[in-house]
């Protein structure tokens, strides 16, 4: 029975149409879904990782009760600590012992920061968590921070070979593994961290006593100035009690984990790039929905003709877009969660903390839902409304989707034609078709170009940031015109040490430098943060600060100093020509600022408050003795291995001469550490750039698919007049390549301001200064290659589809 063939469905036909539109053109649906999904993925993974990192870092950091300040002084007994604890401004105070040992692991030399802990059951400030093994290390054993296991290449039960100040070696067993959230990350510092009892400390030849104490203030835990005031009071108390105050340390951002600032900076920059991805994916949605509306114009006309109101049709297409969003969410949310966990896991691994959050936090879900549902709807609003504004007559009687609405005669058209007549005469017909096809749909071309251009600009900008970071590093390294910096445990006569150094094979030049530290004493009596003093012999060619303002030091400068930009950042009232009062311990001296130099990158990126002065000037002003502990060495060969070998030879030779080396650092090591940190940022920036490239590729693929679909009849005609498969494919691919090339050319120009802004942001976030900006020509050409590959791939599927169309198929195409 005929009637039985059709079944009643409670779903009204118009909603059936929505489903059919989704299902009948799977390529289009896939493209739209992918376009939206890429944006959601970018936002989900970046926002997710940001929330996870911040949440988990805080969750592990806060219970550790990080110190507000640490004070190094002599004779810190329990009674004195109790008196500090009794101060109303101090919530708690605890003493501990801290020292650094040189370690030898195979041929590699590294450092162990060893803490002596009076009572392992009562670590209230900077508490640690016990991962495995003993909770209190036995005599001659230590608990090793888990981050140090990889650095030292050891396991629980192994032993560490450390060198005592007198040069004897001691083996410390690893009794257990702990996690110190506040320990310097071995990946960045080349320092391992371990904890021992005071008995073990005594076995190592040190007194069973505290050499520092740590405090937590009662209030204003995040207020650096308040903590400074409290430290000033404690300092007075230390000095009044007859003890020696050696120094103090306050975190750059108190009550916040040291990694907080770089983590938030990196995630902030990635968030901006994620937002760009989202913006681009919204572009794609606009493009695709515009094309969809153009394809459906006739259907809109029919629906209007049979009584559909504008809002009803609008609701259909907005529902379609909403469903696109839902499918995209289904695809992107799990991938975003994976991305967020992966990114957060990588960063937490580097910074030595755990990811505790499983999956993605609810607020990120909500962001993803909002983005996935709202952005496509907002993006689709304009094309849908414009599609609905078309009258029934226009919709039903327009002769083809490829036609332009109004071909107004333009006075400029004729000259333009003649201008290109030579070009059009000299290129092949299929190429000419590609060329003309490219510019037929100006609106769509503009959107596709917009997407690809932005992707190009961001990619090139990211590459520029990478090159600028390297350039900054190169410039920094050029300041250090030497190969090895050797720090001796005790000061030595420079002449003698230099003579010995020059005896060592591979050493061509050596100088003794004064390295010291002081603080600026401001007019209001407050003190600045510590400023490193670097005083090479006058006229030394081994230190070349890059001048920003004023002049460099002259060999006969006595009280003249050059300060790094970071000093000026901290002390903005200081100008070239000003007198500055410096405090060295209790003593105060005046210097004249003769110049400001660019910041250099220290191993610990971002901390480069340096004051350069002549060695002779330093001695004269401070009435300092002739001995120095820092020696600068130039080697014959400048590769990392040669530098390391010469450094080891220096350490051995000096050990024989009873001139113990505290540590040495090659410029290659210093560069490597900084590069490692930069590379983390660069890798993630490039990942985001790759994501943008995917978005751009999707945009182009979508455009080419739509172009082929709309030109089905034309392709049929081309086939009918003898166009081969290759010719049809070529026309489509060349059009794609042309769009890719144009986007690359415009993108390279747009990249100039974007890369300057991005470099500025990265410099400010990571170095608190400017990067040595250099526009990346490598990036420009790498992206050219990439965009041409992307364009070929994006055009390939539509091209193959076009070449497979038969004349019969295309003539029946409606």
């Amino acid at each position: 029975m005929a009637l039985a063939l059709a079944k009643y469905s409670p779903l009204p036909p118009r909603w059936r149409k929505v489903i059919q539109d989704l299902w009948s053109n799977k390529t289009r649906t896939a493209l739209v879904v992918l376009s939206i999904a890429v944006g959601i993925f970018a936002v989900g993974s970046v926002a997710g990782s940001r929330v996870i990192l911040e949440q988990d870092l805080t969750a592990q950091y806060l219970p550790s009760n990080d110190r507000s300040a640490q004070i190094n002084a002599s004779n810190i007994d329990d009674d004195f600590i109790k008196s500090i604890r009794d101060m109303p401004e101090v919530a708690d105070a605890q003493g501990r012992f801290a020292t650094v040992f040189r370690m030898k692991i195979g041929e590699r030399r590294t450092n162990l920061l060893l803490y002596g802990i009076p009572d392992f059951n009562d670590i209230r400030i900077n508490s640690i968590t016990f991962d495995s093994g003993d909770h209190e290390p036995p005599w001659r054993q230590v608990l090793l921070d888990r981050g140090s296991l990889e650095l030292f290449g050891v396991h629980e039960g192994d032993s560490l070979s450390i060198e005592l100040p007198d040069g004897t070696m001691r083996n410390l067993g690893i009794a257990g593994v702990v996690h110190d959230i506040n320990a310097p990350p071995p990946n960045f510092s080349n320092f391992g961290t371990a904890f021992a009892t005071y008995d073990t400390i005594a076995w190592l030849g040190f007194p069973k006593a505290n050499n520092q104490f740590r405090i937590r203030v009662s209030e204003g835990l995040s207020d650096r100035q308040h903590i400074q005031d409290v430290v000033d009071k404690i300092k007075k108390r230390v000095e009044d009690s007859g003890r020696t105050f050696y120094g103090f340390g306050i975190q750059q951002s108190p009550n916040v984990h040291y990694a907080w600032d770089p983590v938030t900076a990196i995630t902030l920059i990635l968030t901006v790039l994620g937002a760009f991805s989202l913006f681009l994916s919204a572009f794609l949605v606009v493009n695709t929905i515009t094309a969809l509306m153009a394809q459906q114009l006739k259907q809109i006309g029919i629906m209007k003709a049979v009584g559909a109101k504008g809002w009803q049709i609008g609701a259909l297409y907005m529902t379609l877009v909403f469903v696109f969003g839902l499918i995209s969410l289904a695809v992107a949310i799990p991938l975003g969660a994976l991305g967020a966990q992966g990114f957060a896991g990588y960063i937490s691994g580097l910074l030595n903390f755990d990811i505790l959050t499983k999956g993605v936090p609810t607020n990120v879900w909500l962001i993803e839902l909002g983005v996935g549902l709202l952005i496509p709807i907002v993006a689709a609003l304009a094309p849908v409304l414009s599609g609905l504004r078309v009258s029934v007559r226009e919709a039903l009687y327009s002769s083809g989707l490829g036609e332009s609405k109004k071909q107004k005669s333009r006075p400029s058209a004729q000259p333009r034609r003649s201008l290109f007549s030579f070009v059009t005469r000299s290129i092949s017909r299929p190429m000419l078709i590609s060329l003309r096809n490219t510019f037929r749909k100006v609106g769509r071309l503009a959107l596709t170009l917009g997407t690809l251009t932005l992707a190009s600009a961001i990619f090139i900008s990211v590459w520029t940031v990478r090159d600028s970071l390297t350039n900054t590093l190169d410039k920094s390294v050029r300041v250090w015109n030497y190969d090895i910096s050797v720090n001796l445990e005790h000061t030595q006569q420079p002449e003698k040490a230099v003579r010995e150094l020059l005896q060592i094979p591979g050493v061509t030049q050596a100088e003794g430098w004064i390295t010291s530290g002081g603080r600026r004493l401001r007019d209001d009596g407050t003190e600045s943060r510590p400023i490193s003093i670097l005083a090479p012999p006058g006229g030394s060619q081994l230190l070349r600060p890059q001048l920003v303002e004023g002049r460099l030091l002259l060999p006969d400068d006595v009280s003249g100093v050059v300060v790094s930009s970071d000093v000026i950042n901290d002390e903005p009232d200081v100008r070239v020509g000003d007198q500055i009062t410096m405090k060295f311990g209790p003593r105060r001296f005046k210097f004249e600022i003769v110049g400001i130099a660019e910041n250099t990158l220290a191993g610990n990126v971002g901390n480069s408050r340096v004051m350069y002065m002549n060695e002779e000037g330093y001695r004269k002003v401070l009435a300092a003795g002739p001995n120095v502990s820092n020696f600068i060495v130039v080697t014959e060969l400048h590769d990392a291995q040669s530098r390391q070998a010469v450094g080891a030879a220096i350490e051995e030779q000096f050990k024989r001469l009873q001139m113990r080396v505290d540590n040495f650092e090659t410029i290659s090591e210093r560069r490597g550490q900084i590069e490692f940190q930069f590379n983390i940022l660069v890798v993630f920036l490039l990942l985001m750039a790759a994501l943008l490239a995917v978005v751009g590729g999707l945009g182009l693929a979508g455009t080419m698919s739509m172009n082929v679909l709309e030109r089905t009849r034309e392709i049929g005609v081309l086939r009918a007049v003898g166009a081969s498969d290759g010719a049809v494919r070529g026309i489509v691919i060349v059009e794609g390549l042309l769009i890719g090339f144009i986007s690359w050319a415009i993108g390279a120009l747009v990249a100039i301001p974007i890369s300057q802004t991005l470099s500025g942001a990265v410099g400010q976030a990571f170095l608190r200064g400017k990067l040595a900006y250099v526009f990346s020509t490598n990036g420009v050409f790498i992206w050219l290659a990439a965009v041409l590959i992307i364009a070929t791939i994006a055009s390939l599927v539509p091209a193959l589809r076009a070449s497979r169309l038969t004349v019969r198929e295309v003539l029946s195409y409606e």
Partner: protein
Amino acid sequence: MAGTIACLPCRQPYISMLAKLRRGKSPAANPAINLSFDGSKGSNGHPKSGATDAASQTDATRYKHGNTDLIECRTLVKEYETDAGRFLALKGVNLSVSTHEFVAVIGKSGSGKTTLINMLTGIDRPSRGEVLVGDTAVHRLSEGQMAVWRGRNMGVIFQFFQLLPTLTVIENVMLPMDFCNMYAPRERFDRGMQLLELVGIAENASKLPSQTSGGQQQRAAIARALANDPPIICADEPTGNLDSKTADSVFELFSDLVARGKTILMVTHDKDLAKRVTRAVTVADGEIVDEIRN
């Protein structure tokens, strides 16, 4: 509220029609079959069409805008701007069509006959002049009002069928009822199937348009035009894309609809068909140049 015209009076429930169909009688050949299944209101309670019953109104009665005929075009002018300059598609056309008339608009390609019918259906707007259909001044309706009015009062049939390609034949027929919220959802399916029976393609109900022949698609388009039981059908070259045998059966279907009380305007260039209608209006160069009453 936009002006409306009347629907056909209810004479017989559709169940009886279905029963007759099931007995194997051709609905087209059976004058007792009524296309109006539900009186003046949809079974869901929504008014189906206007307050004025056009079918029961005599020609002497004046409609709201002073027109005495169901359809009146008054000095219709349609002007298009083209690249070549201004083009006058209609040059002050006057046309009146009474209820139950079957009017053929004939003329050569480009004569203005499609433009004229588009003015009546509201698909296009006149540059000058008035289009009055029942109580409605069509030329004054906004796009939104026009859609509602057309959906309920005017069945439109196109030369190229214009079925939605992603919907099945039955879904295409149900679409106007869905958009105009006519009849209860379940009733829409039954009514759609009835209409497909009426036009003789019920066995193709669940097929996509692309899976059916041109003649079947045109019949589906006719069924769709009848979906909301409009009193007026406007068809633009409905047989232009059909072979002569299929064209003949479609014409028979139209004749039957007129016999059932519908008013039909049909654009055609087939002069033979024009002889079989109530009245044939010849359009040339945007003007009505001849009228023949058969």
